[in-house]
């Protein structure tokens, strides 16, 4: 079992003929993902890495039974691509685009909620089950980071995920499933929405949350812990504890406003709900040991 994808997930890659599309399609296949089709308007009949290309997602779904969409299109076209995937009946979508306009990201989120679809991203590296499958762009070949194991990871970040996950591995663990919800203020799906999956996953013993200042996603995780809907050990690292009020730290979503959303508040909320919170990446391994007792 795994979260979001496994090797049986039938992935259509939107924007497959672009340079990112070609590069990561090869890597997704190399890792073991089932990439069954691609979409680039005007290029139906071509193929990329042996994967047939279609004009539209509907055509791709009809011909290849795709049930998940990996989107590599520029941010200004991301909403259209996500809407096209949802319109074609796809309910698992990853969009890596960094720079989706806020109102469009919000509309994606609203539509996904209406349809019961899960959209990962934008501004994410995607989703990976190390050693098995991925939808996204992770350097899974770096073994000291993407080592298969039994720790679930959820993150708003990219490079920091490499940093923290390396610490999970240095601590003697590996990763079961990693979900990058992305660094935007309005991600298509939110941390807490994956907790039931991690709770149910027999291959996950604990979850590491890589959060940061801004928004309320970490507080929602804390609420799930308090409510008892998630009962496995949870370790968190929250970036931006020393960040100044009201200034955006890199990610569009990483800003405190009016005293809410500070990294310190988030850390306190998580701790009081029973999570262990690392003050620096290097502490994550030790806290996992503490939480798991091994």
């Amino acid at each position: 079992m795994s979260i979001f994808i496994d090797r049986s997930t039938r992935v259509v890659v939107q924007g497959i003929t672009g340079s990112e599309g070609v590069f990561w399609t090869r890597h997704m296949i190399d890792l073991g993902s089932s990439v069954v089709s691609g979409v680039t308007p005007g290029k139906e009949g071509q193929s990329v890495e042996g994967v047939p290309v279609f004009h539209t997602v509907r055509n791709a779904v009809a011909a290849t039974g795709a049930d998940a969409a990996m989107i590599f299109v520029p941010p200004r076209m991301a909403m259209d691509a996500v809407m096209e995937a949802m319109d074609a009946g796809i309910r698992k979508i990853v969009t890596v685009a960094d720079g989706i306009p806020l109102h469009e990201a919000a509309i994606i989120r609203a539509r996904a909620l209406e349809l019961g679809a899960r959209v990962v991203g934008g501004n994410t590296s995607g989703v990976i089950n190390p050693g098995f499958a991925m939808m996204g762009m992770f350097p899974y070949w770096i073994e000291r980071v993407y080592k298969p194991g039994r720790i679930g990871v959820m993150t708003r970040s990219g490079s920091l995920t490499n940093e923290v996950t390396a610490m999970v591995v240095r601590g003697g663990y590996g990763v079961s499933s990693l979900i990058g919800v992305g660094g935007d203020p309005v991600p298509g799906s939110r941390f807490a929405e994956y907790l039931p999956d991690f709770q149910a996953d027999p291959d996950t013993d604990a979850v590491v949350v890589i959060g940061e200042l801004g928004g309320t996603m970490e507080e929602e995780v804390a609420a799930a812990l308090r409510a008892g809907t998630f009962r496995k050990p949870l370790v968190a690292f929250i970036g931006g504890r020393t960040a100044p009020e009201g200034r955006r730290m890199g990610h569009a979503g990483a800003i405190t406003s009016g005293g809410s959303g500070s990294a310190l508040d988030k850390a306190r909320a998580l701790e009081s709900a029973g999570a262990l919170v690392a003050d620096r990446p290097s502490a994550v391994g030790e806290l996992l040991r503490k939480a798991l007792g091994r």
């Binding site: 919000a106 609203a110 770096i142 490079s159 940093e163 939110r190 890199g250 009016g258």
Partner: protein, 372 residues
């Protein structure tokens, strides 16, 4: 991107809202000469909250007061370049009205309060029941019945309810047409005849949608420093601080983590700069911006995927060659192509590290004049 009050009010007026008569003064003379009657209000156009408490918004009863206050404001430490000089509006009450995006529902969110001039975030903690909230579907837009429900929800009646509903419909237009993160009127004046006038205006536009709003291209005054302004023009995320360790990192989350670690170790950050993502080939320009702060050390930390370590390392070597930095450079570059990267850095005379926290400690040590 946050815009100035005068820019927000221009957008409000274009959408049909009433705003006080005003003149935008760049010199005390203009603040005095403006044909706006007496008293008048002098409002410093700076991008910070709490302008009133900071003495940046003042009432002037006559010419002498206007001149002395304007002179004081232009000379203040807050870098006041423009003063919005407004007629004083006689109002009966003040309200709060704002629209933002709710990330959980993916909708617009109207926030209103029957008390104007409040700190809405403060109120949300102390008296949340005073805030009227109305979710709005971005696709349907604010519907007239929703605007009415907000107005009546504030306890208004008669003409005031109608004009607040109308104002809210117009604020929605501004919010949507400007791709706003926040469109806020605080306070919204209600006059004796029930009409509504925007007493203040905040408008913050989504950076990712600025391509649709070229006419609003932010100027130098929207940034903390000349370097920050130049970084923005390059599309390089940058924040100005006043320490001596210049961060040149890749990845928003990692850069923030490094910022924290520097602070934990007792160092002081000169600037936050992120040259990851689409900017990972811009090492030369990034380092040039960093060196503009005359830092004691430049700290480079990356752990990239698409932003390949080898490409970044080549850029860093090129930057060192070209810019010949006088301060030490601490580099910790990991990720795709890291072996080549380390070789390239060594060839450029650097001692590459592979542990972020070790790199931070070294940078802090160096900033204090210590040794590697």
């Amino acid at each position: 991107m946050k815009f100035h009050e005068w820019q927000a009010k221009e957008a409000f007026a274009a959408a049909g809202m009433a705003v006080p008569r005003s003149v935008l003064a760049e010199h005390p003379d203009a603040a005095v000469a403006a044909d706006l009657g007496w008293p008048r209000v002098l409002k410093s156009q700076v991008l910070r909250g709490g302008r009133g408490k900071a003495g940046l918004v003042v009432m002037a009863r006559d010419q002498a007061a206007a001149r002395s206050e304007a002179t004081r404001l232009f000379a203040s430490e807050h870098g006041v370049k423009r003063i919005l000089v407004e007629e004083a509006v006689r109002f009966e009450r003040e309200l709060y009205l704002a629209i933002t995006v709710d990330p959980v529902s993916g909708g617009g969110l109207v926030l209103a309060c029957a008390e104007g001039g409040v700190e809405i975030e403060e109120l949300a903690k102390t008296a949340p029941e005073k805030i009227v909230r109305a979710p709005v579907d971005l696709r349907d837009g604010l519907q007239p019945f929703q605007a009415r429900a907000v107005a009546y929800g504030l306890g208004l009646g008669g003409e005031a309810a109608k004009s607040v509903a109308r104002t809210l419909e117009r604020l929605w237009k501004v919010f949507r047409s400007h791709d706003a993160e926040l469109a806020e009127i605080n306070p919204l004046f209600i006059l004796a005849d029930g009409s509504a006038v925007a007493g203040d205006g905040k408008l913050s536009i989504d950076d990712n949608a600025m391509f649709r709003h070229e006419a609003l291209e932010p100027g130098r005054e929207h940034y903390d420093s000349e370097i920050a302004f130049q970084a923005a023009r390059e599309g390089i995320p940058y924040l100005q601080f006043d320490g001596d360790i210049s961060l040149m990192c890749a990845g928003a989350g990692l850069t923030t983590a490094v910022y924290d670690l520097v602070n934990y170790e007792g160092g002081a950050v000169a600037n936050y700069l992120e040259f990851g993502g689409p900017n990972y080939r811009k090492a030369v320009r990034a380092m040039e911006l960093c060196l503009g702060n005359d830092p004691k050390v430049v700290l480079i930390v990356t752990f990239g995927t698409i932003a390949r370590a080898d490409v970044m390392a080549t850029g860093i070597a090129e930057a060192i060659e070209k810019l010949k930095p006088r301060c030490p450079i601490v580099a910790c570059i990991r990720g795709t192509g890291e072996e080549e990267a380390q070789a390239t850095l060594r060839a450029a005379g650097l001692e590459p590290l592979s542990d972020t926290e070790e790199a931070v400690r070294m940078a802090v040590r160096l900033s204090r004049g210590g040794a590697r």
